[in-house]
Amino acid sequence: MRTRIDYLRTHCGVAILVRTLMIRRLLLLAAFTVSATVPSFSQQVNLTGAGSTFAYPLYSAWGSEYAKLHPGIQINYQSIGSGGGIRQVSSGTVDFGGTDGPMTDVQLADAQKNLGTDILHFPIALGADVPVYNIPGVKVDLNFTANALAGIYLGKITKWNDPEIAKANPGVNLPANDIIVCHRSDGSGTTFIWVDFLSKISPEWKTKVGVATSVNWPVGVGGKGNEGVAGFVRQTPNSIGYVELIYAVQNKMSYGQVQNAAGKFIKASLNSVTAAAAGAVKNMPNDFRVSITNAPGAGAYPISSFTWMLIPRNPKDKTKAAALKAFLIWGITAGQKECEPLTYAPLAKSVVDKELAALKYLHY
């Protein structure tokens, strides 16, 4: 009679392995069953994008809309900041990136070296950085001169009732409280737009701090993403921060009017942002990298910007590339109707045409 001991005696050393393998196999079987129950389609293409928190609400809405129109094509966008978008698309770990601060020449060269192909910029919408604040007792929209914003972020203006702020807001009872400054702790295109504007209007900022997606801030607390800054300002009295317009609107936060190059105090809106882009629209460079902060024009909002999608020119996976190109074309044409409800300004027709012409050169 063969007992268990006999069986094991002949196969014993392997028994340890088998025992653990069996457990492992059971676990993997369970996992496969679990993952098999998730619905998937015959034309399944999963695209991963990362980057700008500035444009995240738009990508989020687009991804959801597009999935309804083309089931099986998932556009998974993670908002980690424009710096993250640039880095990840340059390393090749994601299929596309989102950024509101265009890549510098050095960054483009690095990406070229890494990936073996260029990264192309395609603007997808226009947006604005607004100064949000939380001052107990002040419910009106404050006017901020450019120097006021520079002074606050340089740490020169420390109290809310400073003359630079007060003179632009006659009749408003500003408290004598300290200003708590909030900026981004991560690499951010929203930061890029903000410091780009500050550099243009404040020589001191330009020399002392400079322009980049991540800078050495003189003062302030860091929040992660537009979400983090908005969250901080919302919960901290006497604070000020800069966020994309949609974050201020969605969270019902007070945001101020900013004085533009023509001297007028303008509130960020579809019209004022579109006005800011008017000059750039006429003279759009071929690689679409352009700054529209501190734009001329009476009705222009001074802290506006394009937001770009970054795609590699010749990616390895052609199926994904084709799906991505189709998504981008949809986004700059039919997808533009999603912009207005989310307070982004849609692209001008000439810009869209120029982009479509450039996209024709991508053969996949």
């Binding site: 268990r4 094991l8 014993c12 340890i16 996992a31 966008y77 993670q78 969250g231 919302r234």
Partner: protein, 321 residues
Amino acid sequence: MSKPYPPTYKKVINVVMLTLTGIAALLVVSVLLFILGYLVWNGARSLNLNFFTKLPVPVGEKGGGMANAILGTVKLLTLASAIGVPIGLLGGIYLAEFGKGPFSFAVRYTTDLLNGVPSIVIGIFVYSLIVLPKLHPSLLARLFPSYFGHFSTFAGGVALGIMMIPIALRSTDDFLRAVPNTLREGGLALGASKAQTIVTVIIPAAMHGIVTGIMLDVARVAGETAPLLFTAFGNVFWSHGWNGPTASLPVVIFNYAISPYTDWHRQAWAAGFVLLSGIFLTNIVARLLVSGKGSRSRSYRLRIPMAALDLFSGKRSRVRS
């Protein structure tokens, strides 16, 4: 007549200090109860069926759920266990049964080292090992190209698996060593080889403890967020298979908690409640299995009753009234 010892001031100090220690213990326990209560109150209120069945909706809209994050966490933990448990188990068997001398000292020291590595460093390691596409891919990357070069559940599972190894190894080692030598000698005396004894006698004897250790291990790793930030990344849709990024409960909690949206905060509480319930349940079941003497207990239950044996030979004795 001299006063009886101890003098009054010592008696006063005695009462004061002992009361303070009581307060300290009370403080610690009340923190736990507070955490639990707050999460239950805030989290359970926000739970509904949608949470478990729906995907997240576009940012700013209300509603949606975390079904993909829950599934993602399950998949990650399954893969982590598949990697961490066999290596830890087999390594523990080596240390307990075969190991002597400098090599096993090195293994023990390295395991302790790996255990102490902050989880974010392990995340960086796996990012540069698996996620980053390289000009000269490693051998594994050439064999399985679809798993390397981007964010994936696979990378997340590997990161968590590496974190699971030290504890699985330690607990297997501890529980196997707690099995008395008399059992090993008995097996050998019957003519079984060492391997046969291990498989048929020792491991079953320590099985409860080993299973406990693994359960505690999984519970610990279930809450890890930092390594997943650079490996599994995140996903707003279902993640298919193992080579795409996936949402996971801890990462979603982190992202939602630091956001400004009240609806997301509500969902973060619910997710925190679900995660913590899972972890606590696992912990409670695991510890109860080992007669409640704590995770470092050396007690075990034998499948083969050995009533007359001195079960704890060679262990430190606890002489306590």
